[in-house]
Symmetry: C2
Subunit: 368 residues, 2 copies
């Protein structure tokens, strides 16, 4: 088991990455201080792992909530329902919420923990690849609003993150592939060596070879922990993690969060950001081709949706949380392994990069 520490001024916490961690209740019990827990999960995860988790907690008051399926569950109503159950079941300020699931479960549960009695403890047990390498780490919690993703939320750090790579075996293929986008992102924004490793190991990763997964997940979690430790509230370097995300969020909003997975949207967004970086001569054409090839090999550029037009994308991107005084800040690449924030890019150039990816023949329609 690898232990990675998120080091913050007021609250540091461990990320445990290993095999069969769910079967080891001592790990989670060492981070529970009260006599009450509430497990929040979704049906597809619950069927595999809920009883294993509950087995180790049988001496505590243990309540559970099964959220509705998919990204749709990341809303104010489900969040309020968690708070209602906590109150109805008499949970005190010493309670611990446990998020057992992917990013949706982690974000809603974390936001409920942030607000219940002005903040209670929570533990993240991410069960999707994307949650293991990204969303479960760093304390960003939120629900969506019809006007935009993650518009209502809080920074609220967990007590620990328990990352069992064995649970990835039961993950549907499309969800697994979606998670690869954030792994590739770490290579692109801050680690050229890791990017090269991914180029060499993508097939083993796709086959879910356990030791390859352990390395990729641990290394990604380490990158995320390092960045969050430097800049918890995203005043500086943490914003580099948004590489591909401003484009990606616009894609997701255009699709009303349906028919596209977050990682797929981010992968298309990273392709657009890479194209824009190349057209601004920030990266070479060779680098651009390497990026597109890795995304393609990862099967991330196969989408089943009609992509929105460049002008529709731009309108949505202007609503992004990162817009300041009507100006779009974008994260682009200086080279593979180095991202920077760029301001004042001409809109026509952004539109041209979007259009180029949108109409590229490499995008193929895929059957799920």
């Amino acid at each position: 088991m690898n232990t990675i520490t998120v080091k913050l001024q007021n609250h540091s916490y461990p990320i445990y990455v290993g095999e069969q961690l769910l079967q080891n209740p001592e790990l989670i019990l060492s981070h529970i201080t009260g006599h009450q827990v509430l497990i929040v999960t979704q049906a597809n995860v619950a069927q595999h792992y809920l009883s294993i988790l509950k087995h180790g907690l049988s001496h505590l008051q243990c309540n559970e909530i099964i959220l509705s399926d998919g990204e749709q569950a990341k809303n104010i109503t489900e969040w309020q329902n968690i708070i209602n159950v906590l109150l109805q079941s008499g949970h005190e300020r010493t309670t611990t919420l446990i998020a057992l699931g992917g990013g949706v479960v982690g974000d809603v549960t974390g936001f409920a923990a942030a607000c219940y009695q002005r903040g209670v403890n929570h533990i993240q047990i991410p069960t999707t690849l994307i949650a293991q390498v990204d969303s479960a780490i760093g304390g960003k919690t939120a629900v969506n609003h019809s006007h935009g993703k993650n518009m209502i939320g809080a920074f609220h750090q967990p007590q620990c993150v328990i990352t069992d790579v064995n649970v990835l075996k039961t993950l549907p293929n499309r969800e697994f592939i979606s998670g690869l986008a954030e792994i590739i992102k770490y290579g692109l924004i801050c680690d050229a060596e890791f990017f090269a490793w991914l180029e060499n190991n993508i097939e083993k990763l796709l086959s879910r070879d356990i030791s390859t997964l352990l390395y990729a997940v641990s290394h990604s979690a380490l990158q995320k922990a390092n960045i969050v430790s430097q800049d918890e509230k995203e005043f500086g370097i943490r914003s580099l993690l948004n590489f591909g995300h401003t484009f990606g969020h616009a894609l997701e909003t255009a699709c009303a969060y349906q028919n596209i997975f977050h990682g797929e949207a981010v992968a298309l967004g990273m392709a657009m950001a890479a194209k824009l970086s190349a057209s601004l001569s920030m990266i070479s054409l060779t680098e651009y081709e390497r990026i597109i090839q890795l995304l393609k090999k990862s099967e991330l550029l196969k989408v089943q949706i009609q992509l929105p037009s460049a002008s529709e994308m731009l309108t949505l991107m202007m609503r992004d949380k990162k817009v300041r005084a009507g100006k779009l800040n974008l994260i682009l690449l200086n080279k593979i392994g180095q991202a920077i924030k760029v301001q004042d890019i001409v809109e026509a150039q952004i539109a041209s990069a979007i259009e180029s990816i949108r109409t590229d023949k490499l995008l193929s329609v895929r059957e799920f």
Copy 2:
């Protein structure tokens, strides 16, 4: 103008206490960094002060929301409405929310600021006595739930607090008197000299003499700022501020937040806590009499409600946020000017103190 500083590890901010501060837009403008503001207020305050405040902000995008009246406005629906307006009006992460009103406005607005895009700036302009000396200071934000007061909320500190004592002139008498409870509380929990000053100046305070008000409000704000500066998240000394509040919250819940003002409930709660302190021989009977006399002179012990029974009160008190492992922690007095936290008090003794105040002939029904 007095400037008091709340000194926190990551964010210190000023409380300005003075006269005619609303007429000085430079003060508020020096704490607004973006180009957008949203003023949240209630109708009774808006009629007197909204146009004065807006006058100084005319060069900014300025939206406004009038909440429904009274404590009922402190709910999830009003909170969500603030967030809807922010999104519909295109407010960016640099926006500033301005709470112009009493504790209800301050708490709902602060909680909306805490959650909008994971946290934006806000400024408190308290217009009731209770907000000026207590709720606008210290970053506790929340809305109520049918299962209890302040059950959903966050710690989120303002950029500054602008306290104009002139606005107290338009405050209805019952609301003004309610605010005196928190002022008396500071004397009781940490400042015997201030308690004696209050005994000597209660008539001038009740007549709203401006220089007396300036001293009482500034001194109370200073006490609150000092305590919050030592213990922002209430792990220790800040809990002393809850003196009278565990009883008081139970009274408010029993009345469904109707027909009793917060300060009235706190005053009755302080009388009960003082009675309990006396019956445990922690304070003398003379001290107990001084406390009851000051509360009585302040017209705080005139209530128009039928007080709930001791057993009903105890049931509600056990639901308090401060309950740990089913045990009630109460703040009691060692002497006038010194509060301490006490655990494991026999329930019958708590019930007897409640019953004693409940049936005391000094409680008189009052006409409003």
